[in-house]
């Protein structure tokens, strides 16, 4: 069954999600990956204000390709999430409600997801052209100098993803491969 969620995501929405659920997201999300996370994390460490309000938001780990003329955005699939593991708990503590990426997370991130009632969604890595069809608009928020790694706001309609880690800490990357392992 596919669940539809209108953003911003609520605490109740998050509680209703279970690891493995297919989800379609509609509304706005923000983007950020390695370089932007490093900058945000350094500001948090110094106790300074962030250039973007992350409270209540979902962040998509993505560095899109440039948009061809006539397209709202270029291909925009997820990047590997583990590289943001060092930074994610600090952002969740500040009110970020979830992350969209691909691949496994550290135990520290999973613990922080549970503690803060958050969620981690997986998008399909390498399905970038297809995923971009669900992104209708983009707006630059900050760190323009980072190029593809700048922080943007995406307006999405029926953005497809799967609940990879739910708010109780259930983790599909842990449970699902075991069901199909033969060795």
């Amino acid at each position: 069954m596919t669940k539809r969620i209108n953003l911003p995501i609520t605490d109740e929405d998050i509680k209703d999600l279970n690891a493995g659920d297919s989800v379609l997201l509609t509304g706005t999300i923000i983007t950020g990956r390695d370089a932007a996370h490093k900058r945000l994390f350094e500001l948090i460490e110094k106790g300074e204000e962030l250039p973007v309000d992350i409270r209540g938001e979902l962040i998509y780990y993505v560095g899109p390709a440039p948009a061809k003329p006539g397209y709202a955005v270029g291909p925009a699939g997820p990047t590997s999430s583990y590289r943001m593991d060092k930074y994610a708990p600090a952002l969740l503590d500040l009110g970020l409600k979830g992350m969209i990426g691909k691949g496994a997370r550290s135990q520290a991130v999973i613990d922080s997801i549970v503690k803060n009632n958050c969620v981690y969604f997986a998008a399909i890595g390498g399905a970038a052209a297809l995923i971009a069809k669900s992104i209708k608009k983009e707006e630059l928020l900050c760190y323009e100098d980072l190029g593809t790694e700048a922080v943007r706001r995406y307006t999405v309609e029926d953005f497809p993803c799967i609940v990879a880690v739910d708010s109780r800490g259930n983790n599909v990357y842990e449970t699902e491969p075991k069901k199909y392992a033969k060795s």
Partner: protein
């Protein structure tokens, strides 16, 4: 054989086309393997992921879009004929100009930073390319090129095995590397393996192996058997498409070998995502 002039412009144009083509059009070997795997995949989620990947690759080709946003670092294997004389500039600059034009005019992502540790400032044109050149007899230049994404590149490994490890040790290291990569390198993956040579030769062979079509076997039957055995072993791990569970963790294992030292048996494993992009041209 007479010396032959090739202009920088010809090289640039060929390189530009290779990088745009490989990023828009997935190889028939990959697409066919994805479709076959989809029929055999036992996991409903795995089937659905494979459907999305196939749909994505068909869409990208139809609309001439990069199939993945990570259009990679530009890697080229060049067989440079020893009778070729490049006119109008240097070979390396002609290649980099081709990369620059492909990534600009093809709307490909610029993913290269100039300094790896301190500055990490984007070069904004995806140069410089990684160019492996071998001088061969002849008056042509043959180029095999690919954009290498780093989600999978980061999961790669080299190990200096020694002779007593034998074939079992080689297979174990390859399987361990794939298992450690787990869901991260965008499975189903293509595994390129380089065995022999020196430390750097093994790594180069592994990359070259990822550029070989996956519907081809190593010409030495013993390595062809090892490729098949490894593919079966990897697909028993259960990671499946996108790492969300299933029997399709890899769609190809390619092994390339080279003579090595009496004391050594280097093994390199270069992992590539399902968007295993490469294209060839001869000038």
């Amino acid at each position: 054989m007479e010396p032959r002039n090739i202009t920088c412009g010809e090289i640039t144009a060929a390189v530009k086309k290779l990088f745009i083509d490989c990023n828009y059009f997935i190889g028939e070997d990959i697409l066919s393997a994805l479709k076959k795997s989809r029929e055999k995949e036992g996991s409903p989620v795995g089937k659905s992921v494979l459907d999305q990947i196939i749909e994505n690759d068909i869409l990208a080709a139809k609309e001439e879009l990069p199939l993945c946003q990570d259009t990679g670092m530009a890697v080229l294997f060049v067989e440079y004929g020893d009778k070729v004389f490049v006119t109008g500039g240097s070979f390396e600059e002609a290649v980099n100009e081709g990369v620059r034009q492909a990534y600009r005019d093809g709307y490909l992502r610029k993913s290269v930073v100039s300094d790896p540790v301190f500055d990490r400032v984007n070069t904004k044109d995806n140069t410089p390319a990684v160019i492996h050149t071998r001088v061969v007899p002849g008056d042509k230049i043959k180029i095999t090129a690919g954009g290498k994404g780093f989600g999978s590149e980061n999961m790669s490994a080299v190990k200096m095995l020694t002779p007593s490890y034998g074939a079992e040790g080689v297979k174990q290291f390859i399987l361990d590397t794939v298992r450690a990569a787990g869901p991260n390198p965008c499975p189903p993956i293509v595994v390129g393996v380089g065995i022999g040579g020196t430390f750097e030769r093994a790594a180069q062979l592994a990359k070259k192996a990822t550029f070989r079509p996956i519907d081809t076997d190593n010409p030495d039957q013993r390595y062809a058997d090892m490729e098949k055995e490894l593919l079966d072993g990897i697909n028993k791990m259960g990671f499946g498409p996108a790492g969300l569970g299933g029997s399709t963790t890899a769609i190809g294992v390619n092994i390339e070998t080279a003579p090595t030292h009496i004391a050594g048996m280097p093994v390199a494993v270069n992992i590539c995502c399902h968007a295993a992009r490469h294209a060839s041209a001869e000038i």
